[in-house]
Amino acid sequence: ADLKFPMLVYRTGAYAPNGIPNADGFVDYYKMINARDGGIGGEKILHPECETGYKTQVGVECYEKNKQDAMVFQPMSTGITYQLIPKATADGVTVYSTGYGRTSAANGKVFKWIFNAPVTYWDGASIAVKHILGKNSNDIKGKTIALVYHNSAYGKEPIRTLEQLGKKHGFKLMLLPVDHPGQEQKATWLKIRKARPDYILMWGWGVMNQVAVKSAASIKFPMENFIGIWWSGSENDVLPAGEGAHGYKSLTFNAPGSNYQVHKDIKKYVHDKGEASGDGSHFGTVLYNRGLFQAMVQVEAARVAQQIHGTSKITPAMYRDGMENVKLDAKRLEELGFKDFAPPFANSCENHGGSGLAAVQQWDAKTKSWSMITDYMGSDRAIIDKLIAEDSNKYAAEQKIAERCN
């Protein structure tokens, strides 16, 4: 049977500019696999799209409509992920929220069906702080770090981690929420201008990113001290600010650019045949590449499942096993055409959150391109693991879930 990978995309609405390249990456990858390999283990990939417009209620409808025989759902929105966690668990469908969603879902003991590898928001917060530490010879006592965040579940994710890190490293945390959609941030940036924080971290999304980058440039905040999470580091976010955005940094767990083997394959098997998703103009952009990565992991999980269960016709339950046993080491990544594209990671029964590695990339306004400026770094496990255990245990207690993997 064909393998169904339903896609909940948002190519419309306030966040469409981000949803489009990301979805394009997915689609192109699936098409490439179908064209190059004839599918996964001989089974074609079906990838029906369902447009959510980033709306929870529509997401539910899309899920219900496509959940029959679906291998995995990539909800593409933190709100929808929260929605699907209990539902998919009850229905026995895998949910994969790559680097977003509920951070504590990394605890596979509690969240059997949910995966968020390779890295979580809390890792992200910790890695950003680590980067700052590195710039200050590991001493940031007394410094101020501001967090400009989307005033929603997504944006609030790193707060607790940063508070803990603040205690540990002695920096002051300044919280600056920005309401949806984030067009008007004057007060935020006046506050920043007055308080002169040493660093700014940003958990932004959509138009909020563009305005923030532009405002930071406009108040002449040193851009190299302004670091966004991986959802605040696409070309869309910096281009409108023009020159001003030069030097802006963001985290990432996949490389920018279009010189990888996978891109060549996509070019050959998809774009050159005129079958590019969308208008093909997002090829090689940050979010497009992330789409490739996300799709690759999902496909790889299917392969693993096929191996484990010795059949190409896997069921959703088998697929979950595959996802739990995904092991993407450097060698495997190279085989898949992702050499140096992303850090290796492996899932396990306990750990659904991957390696927790991310790197920092920086924007060059002259060449209009992102470049990686650090290696992939790990987070402060001591703090993060504790937080994850706390939060997931609370959830387990509320929902009366018994721990697995023991």
Binding site: L176, E184, L190, G206, K214, I219
Partner: protein, 334 residues
Amino acid sequence: MSVELLNFIETVLNGLMSGVMYSLVALGFVLIFKASGVFNFAQGVFALFAALTLVGYQTGQVPFAHVINELFGTNYHNWYASMPNFLAIILTMITMIALAWIIERLVLKHLVNQDPIILFMATIGLAFALEGVGDLMWGSDVKVLDVGIPSGGSVWLEEATIGLAAEGSDYYGMYIDVLNVWATVIAVILVITLALFSQYTKTGRALRAVADDHQAALSVGISLRTIWILVWAISGFIAMVAGIMWGTESGVQFSLSLIALKALPVLILGGFTSIPGAIIGGLLIGVGEKLAEIYIGGYFETGALENWFAYVMALVFLLFRPQGLFGDKIIERV
């Protein structure tokens, strides 16, 4: 001067500037309300549509490209690489006039003499339709809009004010975005022109008459059609100005249409029917919400109270003047 005082002045100034940006949107609302009693919720989408169109013309995008490509398997994207700004603006203006004409033909004409709430809902429908058409025509990517209006912090002001602070204190000068200064200049010109127009010309009088009673206006020979096309076109123009200003700041994308929500408290505070009200309301709201965010936001941990604060502030004003500061009196008689 103490740094606190300078900071306070800076906050007020920036508040005023944000207020002007809201006013630009509110102005379009007011004009249409004044001239037809229609509460035009589509004003925000108008701004989006105008900005999209402007960028589309500038960069030579082929309208409906992705639909055409999908249907016919073609691969059209751009006609030409760029077009001079002024030409693009003129073409956009013409498009907005055409849009006004279409709206009159397809929508307003059929809704003469209906309840205001029905007209209001129709404009929400219009907002959806226009949003969809905008998406279909120009795609929903973020687009960079640059018509050459300078933006960024004003260096001049910063340098001029840096010395004002008391000796030895930590002060970096005052901040103001040049783009907003331009917006202010344009808004003031618009407000004065429109206020004079509506108060002292025959057409202006007719506008107000139409808002009061469609049927009676018809009966004295005012052509609703002409009036409506006229005001919707003017509003289209204002929307374009708003679209340029907001779009320069944030790139052109769907979120632009949500600025309508920022304009609403301005509207009720200034009064739906008053053109000067739109600007004064905007200034009050702008200053009020910035002061609130910066000076009392701290009491709520992290603030972000701007959104509701603007509405609550407007509400408080309304309790004293139910028709807004400058709105037409609500006539209650039996």
